[in-house]
């Protein structure tokens, strides 16, 4: 449609919107579809959080405009959580801003720092919103390949220095979606040095920082000395507390970037419903047993999947974090043809790796956010459809 502004025409269709459509279509054709596609926790929001929301819904002040930066009580809860969880001190007044889910901040940070023609460093494969926000602001994407031989960490030394000089933002995401990779000791220090040298804002997406197994504790980027001078970190209550529908997150870190993002977004929205902010506070301040419990659930599913996929022929190192598995497609398939094959033959939806960028070619992602029984059934179907695979 010619009436649509170019910046929106330039956006690729949002991957998961496309998958949703496919699922709807298959369902309407009478196919009994099981989705391993979208990372939407299947478990309910913990009761103590819902109770607090239900109480706050009745409080009169909450029926009125929130501040777009978030209540100080909310920002303080985020700051306290950072202190407890990572030993990182952030000033709730100047270094925290509320977001309508971390996606909102990721999508809009480019408005703040990227002029048309500026460069943004975007991991590939990666969460599609890094590229989407860049495209909206008219920026150029420079892909950072995440390759298995580098443990899915970008090689900063491979970025040409003239590209680095033009770059305004570096997006990173550990624990990583879609690859489930985690950072390694020393990598974030390299990032800080790199960002300082080239005056780049580091935007670390920490949406999965609470989804981890067997004692592994993913670090915050802000734990690194000097990180706050060069970067911000995005987070959200969606994943740890099963609150994807509530739309509540934050950005934390560099004061200047937080202030600009807060000012910019005040022209886009009027903040998060205060009852939802209180619910998030209840999550952050409350007992974290619900988080360990849900991680136990994901770990069990991971093991179920690893065992079943192992029997089919995949050799996978157990993941330390996220509820995703990033798998090679079998011989004879592309990402797309394999995803299509599975939905047609098995009624199982997986996400083709190319949805996360060119370097996702040859891979697909499955999400463990469905009941044990459904997962078991999906795995059974994969086995009977695929038999034994080779690569």
């Amino acid at each position: 449609m010619t009436d649509i502004a170019r910046r929106v025409q330039n956006l690729p269709p949002y991957l998961f919107a496309r998958i949703e459509q496919l699922i709807e279509q298959k369902k309407s054709e009478g196919v009994d579809v099981i989705s391993l596609g979208i990372g939407d926790p299947d478990e309910p929001t913990p009761e103590h959080i819902c109770r607090e929301a239900a109480r706050q819904i009745n409080v009169r002040e909450n029926h009125q405009y929130p501040s777009s930066a978030g209540m100080l009580a909310y920002r303080s809860a985020v700051a306290d959580w950072y202190a407890r969880r990572f030993g990182v001190w952030v000033d709730p007044k100047n270094e925290v801003v509320s977001l309508i889910g971390s996606k909102e901040g990721i999508a809009h940070i480019s408005w703040c720092f990227v002029d048309p023609g500026d460069t943004v460093l975007v991991p590939d494969p990666g969460y599609p919103v890094y590229a989407g926000g860049t495209i909206l602001a008219g920026g150029n994407i420079h892909c950072l390949p995440l390759l298995p031989e580098n443990d899915y960490l970008p090689r900063l030394e491979d970025i040409p220095s003239d590209t680095a000089r033009k770059a305004k933002i570096l997006f990173l995401n550990y624990p990583n979606n879609p690859t489930a990779a985690v950072t390694r000791e020393g990598f974030f220090d390299e990032v800080v040095r790199f960002a300082r040298e080239y005056d780049i804002l580091v935007c670390h997406d920490a949406a999965y920082i609470d989804v981890s197994f067997e004692g592994y504790r993913p670090p915050s980027f802000l734990e690194i000395q000097g990180a706050k001078e060069v970067g911000i970190e995005f987070g959200s209550v969606s994943k740890p507390y099963n609150m994807t529908g509530w739309r509540c997150g934050w950005a934390v870190g560099n004061k200047h970037a937080i202030e600009v993002l807060g000012r910019l977004k005040s022209n886009i929205d009027s903040g998060v419903f205060q009852a939802v902010q209180y619910a998030a506070i209840a999550g952050l301040n409350g007992s974290q047993q619900c988080v360990s419990r849900i991680n136990g659930v994901y770990r069990k599913r991971r093991d179920m999947a690893l065992a079943a996929l192992g029997e089919i022929g995949w050799d996978i190192t157990p993941t330390k974090a996220t509820f995703y598995l990033w798998l090679k497609v079998p011989k004879g398939f592309t990402s797309e043809s394999f995803a299509e094959h599975l939905i047609d033959r098995a009624g199982v939806v997986v996400t083709p790796g190319t949805g996360y960028g060119n370097y996702g070619a040859g891979y697909f992602r499955i999400s463990l956010t469905l009941s044990d029984a459904l997962l078991q059934e999906a795995l059974k179907r994969l086995k009977s459809t695929l038999g034994r695979v080779s690569f």
């Binding site: 502004a5 029926h63 989407g132 886009i268």
Partner: protein, 395 residues
């Protein structure tokens, strides 16, 4: 870290200074009468809160479709048909995080870098900032109080250029409370169709309308204009739900699809629980709305009467919203309490310091001969606030 030129172009909010000072005085123990508020002082009705609590216990806590749950979009279609005579399909509705967010999506989708957007003044300041954010140029048309602050077809013709893309129309208006009649809307629509430009019609104050006036949506006056209109509305003002952040847009399918695409990249669905609440607001009993409107009507009557008695204040009779927008320019050049008043901003500062009454200077809306007084506050506050204003201004 150098800012983008867009971020540097964002103006600080002109209301912020008054707001900050009002808060300072309040925290120092002063009793401030706040006429600055832009939201109903009523509670969200019980049935709506109950629906939200039920949604939570039903587990409606996961992602919903990006443009909102189908049932809510159906309810919005029913509302638009019943109240506005508009026929839309659920695929032409996009629910967002408040009407402000709907406006943002609409402008991002329709407006290119270098385009011009016509904005009648006085205007809600966010329009201008959102236009600038899209890299476009706001072309401001000054309206006249004698015309009830309404633009005329010839104003549009004069403002047109080859780059004109969109007109923003806001009826009932914030800050003036003006309500366009059917005839006025029809005349505007004709010019817009001839010019081939789009309309972004902000109808958020639709239900707050007095003296038997009727709200007309520009999309309803002809099929041709409907094809070029994005209607923006929400549950905030009608159901005292500003905090819940649910607004919506109705637009031709292509535009609605593009808005959904944009929203899928930027925010996902609006809060799932608030969507359930909005559904109940639209489908449930409407009694609390009429109670609220009756209360606003009574306050409006009173505030107009009282302002009429303050010499030098000229105030029209706004047909809608919950604001009055008096001309205070008769005070310009006068010395009051040792300061010379030269603008609405000065007068607002004076009223805050001397009367402890917060009003919003007209500068915030593009015309500083005026101040905006909101009557979304209790009758007692209105009475006390006007007593104080009269004391300071009449000496």
């Amino acid at each position: 870290m150098r800012l983008s030129s867009r971020a540097m172009g964002i103006s600080p909010s002109p209301t912020l200074a008054v707001d900050a000072r009002a808060k300072e005085l309040a925290s120092a123990g002063e009793r401030i009468i706040n006429f600055g508020v832009g939201e109903p002082d009523f509670d969200t009705p019980e049935n709506i809160k109950e629906a939200a609590a039920q949604a939570m216990s039903r587990g409606m806590t996961k992602y919903t479709p990006v443009p909102g749950i189908l049932e809510l979009r159906k309810a919005i279609c029913e509302k638009l048909f019943k109240d506005n005579g508009l026929e839309y399909q659920p695929g032409e509705i996009v629910v967002s995080c408040g009407a402000k967010h709907s406006l943002y999506n609409a402008i991002q989708v329709l407006v290119e870098e270098g385009d011009e957007v016509i904005v009648p003044a006085p205007y809600w300041v966010t329009y201008v900032e959102q236009i600038k954010l899209a890299g476009a140029k706001p072309v401001v048309i000054q309206t006249r109080p004698e015309n009830g602050f309404k633009i005329l077809p010839e104003d549009i013709v004069q403002a047109l250029s080859p780059d004109t893309r969109l007109l923003i129309l806001n009826t009932p208006s914030n800050p003036t409370g003006s309500v366009y009649t059917v005839a006025e809307i029809k005349a505007l629509a004709e010019v817009l169709i001839t010019a081939g430009i789009w309309v972004l019609s902000d109808e958020i104050y639709e239900k707050l309308i007095y003296d038997g006036a009727r709200h007309t949506s520009i999309a309803a006056v002809s099929p041709e204009i409907k094809e070029r209109t994005i209607v923006v509305n929400g549950v905030s003002k009608a159901y005292a739900m500003t905090g819940w952040r649910i607004g919506y847009a109705a637009a031709p399918a292509g535009v609605a699809k593009a808005m959904t695409g944009l929203q899928s990249h930027c925010t996902s669905n609006p809060d799932s629980i608030a969507q359930a609440a909005a559904l109940e607001a639209l489908r449930g009993p409407q009694q609390s709305l009429s109670t609220m409107v009756a209360a606003f009507a009574e306050r409006r009557e009173y505030i107009l009467q009282r302002l009429d008695q303050v010499p030098g204040i000229k105030c029209g009779r706004p047909g809608g919203a919950f604001y009055v927008f008096p001309d205070v320019s008769a005070y310009f050049g006068r010395r009051l309490n040792h300061t010379t008043v030269a603008s609405g901003t000065d007068l607002a500062a004076l009223l805050l310091e001397e009367a402890k009454v917060a009003v919003v200077p007209g500068a915030a809306f593009g015309d500083d001969r005026f101040v905006r007084i909101s009557y979304a506050t209790s009758f007692e506050n209105i009475k006390e606030g006007l007593n104080r204003i009269a004391t300071v201004l009449c000496g």
